[in-house]
């Protein structure tokens, strides 16, 4: 028993350390798509925090299984029984208490704190309206009366907070740019809002994360219901907007 516990502790420490190392050195840099907006930090940090917390928990179960598998195998049912441990003592109480505590931690951080951080929107510098239909997006810049549709590009300025008003004219769709992380359904007859602050220049050409992708099953064209996204410097954005305006007026 004693040696079991020693082995358990060693394996637990090893598994925990190894998985923490993998999480810190590999997952943290490699997992996520391009970090394209300030809000992405909240989500990525939450993801990593949950991963670090999961490592020791993962380790406990793995260590227990390793000990059992290494040291307590038997070749048949007639080799006697295991020890009669009923688990009626204080261990379940401790386990229950610790898991409740962990649960409370996870609820508070990164759960509720992250939720309120995302909710706490700054005043938007720019408002756009994204309208979904089967199977294309229309994005409107109401202040400058510019509209882009289908395979055209959604262009956003860097370091400006954008309010996206999301709606649909037929069925459910969902607005999702992987680089910006947040996702919101387009519901017919209802306007859902998200706030994003792009903080890195990028475009679809070089990065699949810069695409507006429908993320709610909408039938035949669901997979191809995308729109390229390009984030540019403010000056470039203004120029683009002006150019689009003239195109619109020329029509």
């Amino acid at each position: 028993m004693r040696r079991d516990f020693t082995l358990f502790t060693i394996v637990w420490a090893l598994v925990t350390a190894a998985s923490l190392a993998v999480a810190y050195f590999i997952l943290r840099d490699m997992s996520f798509p391009t970090h394209g907006a300030e809000e992405a930090s909240v989500i990525d940090d939450a993801f990593m925090a949950l991963t670090y917390l999961a490592c020791p928990v993962f380790g406990i179960v793995i260590a227990a299984m390793v000990v059992a598998l290494l040291k307590h195998r038997s070749s048949g049912p007639n080799n006697g029984d295991g020890e009669r441990i009923l688990g009626t003592g204080s261990l379940p109480v401790v386990w229950f208490g610790v898991s409740s505590l962990l649960c409370a931690i996870v609820i508070i951080y990164p759960g509720l704190t992250g939720l309120f951080e995302l909710r706490d929107h700054k005043d938007p510098d720019l408002r756009i309206v994204a309208t979904a239909q089967m199977w294309a997006w229309t994005v409107e810049y109401p202040d400058s009366k510019v509209k882009v549709f289908g395979a055209q590009e959604l262009v956003l300025p860097k370091d400006e907070t954008v309010e996206v008003d999301i709606t649909s004219i037929d069925i459910l769709h969902s607005f999702w740019v992987p680089a910006f992380r947040q996702k919101m359904d387009a519901v017919p007859g209802q306007i859902n809002k998200i706030y994003i602050t792009p903080d890195r220049v990028g475009d679809r050409e070089s990065d699949a994360a810069y695409r507006l992708q429908c993320a709610e099953l909408c039938g035949l064209g669901h997979a191809i219901m995308t729109m390229p996204v390009r984030v540019v410097e403010k000056a470039e954005f203004d120029a683009w907007l002006k150019q689009q305006q003239s195109v619109t007026e020329a029509k």
Binding site: I85, V106, G189
Partner: protein, 614 residues
């Protein structure tokens, strides 16, 4: 010839066709009288189906053995014997258990084949074998059939066969209701297959409106009817289990002496009998919007798709516990017997199961974090959902406490049960990310979710299912499976499973969303790998089918208790005698009498229950 014609299935089919013609005809007559066209496909199919279902159930045996009594006539006796019992109306819970198990394993394999086709399509970007329409049909079919398998195979198959034996009962509380319940299943399969042949339905297994209520093909109607029918199986089966477990326990089989699998079945039944009606209600609303012109999901009339999402997930989240709770039960049962140790922290584990039942009904809206539901609902549902991890943690405590310092006999069922612990750990941990609003905003509807629920349902329940299949195979059939083939199956399945689903987590985080027939070229590398691994996973079932078929036909004859296990079902012959017990046993202690504990359930040689002293 007359024998073939009188076979229950043939009679059922004939009456189903007559029923359909009657229903559709009466409807057509009414429509004609009101100046409408005689035949309108969606209304016609719906009304015709209701009568076809009644005709089928009556013909397959419901009338002969039951319905006659309602009209004051004498019910006919059961005449089918031998293998024919499996194709007729049988009140024997063991026959019904095998009916469920075989049916749903066949459906599982078919649906798995569909998954292989889906992986062929997704092997590279661009079109491989499916048009987007066909892809959606295949995906919807895979989704709903696997959900049906997951809900019914452990509870319907193993619950029916094992639970009455475990609690020392002669049969279920309502044997005829049990038989009738099973015969609801074939119409469900037929409807889904016809729906696929008609081009499928585009809305997946979740059938979100307004896509499902306004835009999909006629197959949607058949889908809705099939799922509503399947709901009845769940509800009636659940009621039957609850009453059986409450009233049919043998003397001395107190609540704290129930084997843990019975607790799992009890907890799952609590969910399935109550919540399943929410699914029926949601799909009924979609059906009414399609065939009766109601406006449940039209914004202009006050309706809303979000209403559907609430009602749908009010069932469909608890449904995952209908799937995994019997899985917990089966895995813990096997861990205990094959470690030769009492179940660790029995009361806590049973309590945790009931805790999961209680929490399951109040967490549904975590599926709606990105749906645009009222923002004030986010925080409470985040809190409640995370709380599910507490009872689930206690299940893990039970599992690892049971194998701690045991005598692990690493036969195939034990390997599957151990893999269950690992897989469900992965599934449980990744569930936390999805319950947490910030991370869920990114991960919702991506392959991360796909990987997560495959880890919980396939890695959890289906691994437990295979543990159960190998563990109870000798009891079901009286024969022993081939251990080597079983181990090959296990290792191929386990490795194939990990290689398939671990990369899915990453590709999901990276930005690949689910339910798409095509994806940006950037994700092609991962998907090729995933597809190849999936084929490895798929190939493992060849060994399974071979093993099962050859063992059942000509395997070594099994002893009554090859595992030397201590629960009641092992104390009778394999397969068990028709009435289970010659004398109802009297229970005097817990079912896990290992390690020098009281030995009242101890194994014995011979076919009948040994009468034990005090």
């Amino acid at each position: 010839m007359t024998r073939v014609v009188r076979a229950p299935i043939v009679v059922g089919l004939v009456l189903a066709i007559i029923g359909f013609a009657f229903g559709a005809g009466v409807l057509g007559a009414i429509r004609t009288a009101r100046g409408q066209s005689f035949w309108e496909i969606e209304v016609g199919m719906s009304v015709g189906y209701v009568f076809a279902l009644i005709g089928w159930l009556a013909g397959v045996g419901g009338w002969q053995h039951w319905g006659r009594e309602w009209f004051g006539l004498e019910a006919k006796p059961y005449t089918l014997t031998g293998w024919k019992r499996y194709f007729g109306f049988s009140p024997d819970h063991k026959v019904i258990g095998i009916q469920y198990a075989v049916t749903f394993i066949v459906v599982f394999l078919l649906s798995g084949l569909t998954a292989m086709l889906i992986r062929v399509e997704l092997m590279r970007d661009g079109k491989q074998i499916f048009t987007p329409d066909q892809y959606n049909a295949a995906m919807g079919f895979h989704g709903i059939t696997m959900v049906a398998v997951a809900v019914a195979v452990l509870l319907g198959g193993f619950g029916n066969f094992i639970v009455p034996l475990m609690i020392g009962a002669r049969d279920m509380a309502f044997p005829r209701l049990n038989a009738l319940t099973y015969w609801f299943v074939p119409p469900v399969a037929v409807l889904l297959i016809i729906a696929v042949l008609m081009g499928g339905w585009e809305s997946g297994w979740t059938a979100y409106p307004p896509l499902s209520s306004l835009h999909t093909k006629h197959g949607q109607v058949l889908f809705n009817l099939a799922v509503i029918t399947f709901g009845l199986v769940s509800i009636l089966g659940g009621i039957n289990f609850l009453v059986t477990i409450i009233y049919e326990r043998a003397p001395g089989m107190t609540w704290s002496r129930l084997p843990i699998f019975v607790w799992g079945a009890f907890a799952a039944s609590l969910i399935s009998f109550f919540f399943t009606q929410a699914l029926a209600a949601a799909l009924l609303m979609v059906l009414l919007d399609r065939i009766a012109g109601t406006s449940f999901f039209r914004q202009a009339e006050g309706g809303s798709p979000v209403l559907y999402e609430h009602v749908f997930w009010f069932y469909s989240h608890p449904a995952v516990y209908v799937m995994v709770l019997p899985g917990f039960g089966a895995a813990l049962e096997i861990l205990s017997h094959l470690s030769r140790k009492p179940l660790f922290a029995y009361r806590w584990v049973a309590g945790a199961m009931i805790g999961i039942v209680m929490l399951s009904g109040i967490v549904w809206a975590h599926h709606l974090f990105t749906s645009g539901m009222a923002p004030y609902l986010h925080a409470p549902f985040l809190v409640l959902t995370e709380m599910i991890s507490i009872p689930t943690g206690l299940i893990f405590l039970g599992a690892i406490g049971t194998i701690w310092a045991g005598k692990l006999w690493l036969q195939t069922p034990m390997l599957f049960a151990l893999a269950f612990i690992f897989n469900f750990l992965m599934g449980g941990v990744t569930g936390i990310y999805l319950a947490d609003v910030p991370t869920d905003l990114h991960l919702q509807d991506t392959y991360f979710v796909v990987a997560h629920f495959h880890y919980t349902i396939v890695g959890g329940e289906i691994f437990a299912l295979f543990a159960a299949i190998y563990f109870w195979f000798p009891k079901f059939t009286g024969r022993m499976y081939n251990e080597t083939l079983g181990k090959i199956h296990f290792w191929l399945m386990f490795i194939g499973f990990q290689l398939t689903f671990i990369p899915m987590f990453r590709v999901g985080i990276q930005g690949m969303n689910r339910r798409i027939a095509d994806y940006p070229h950037e994700y092609a590398g991962y998907n090729t790998f995933i597809s190849l691994a999936a084929f490895l996973l798929g190939s493992s079932f060849l060994f399974f089918v071979w093993n099962m078929a050859s063992a059942w036909l000509k395997g070594r004859v099994a002893e009554p208790n090859p595992w030397r296990a201590s629960t009641l079902e092992w104390q009778v012959s394999s397969p068990p005698p028709e009435h289970n017990f010659d004398e109802i046993p009297v229970i005097t202690d817990t079912p896990y009498g290992y390690g020098g504990g009281p030995a009242h359930h101890r194994p014995f040689a011979g076919g009948a229950l040994a009468t034990e002293e005090g």
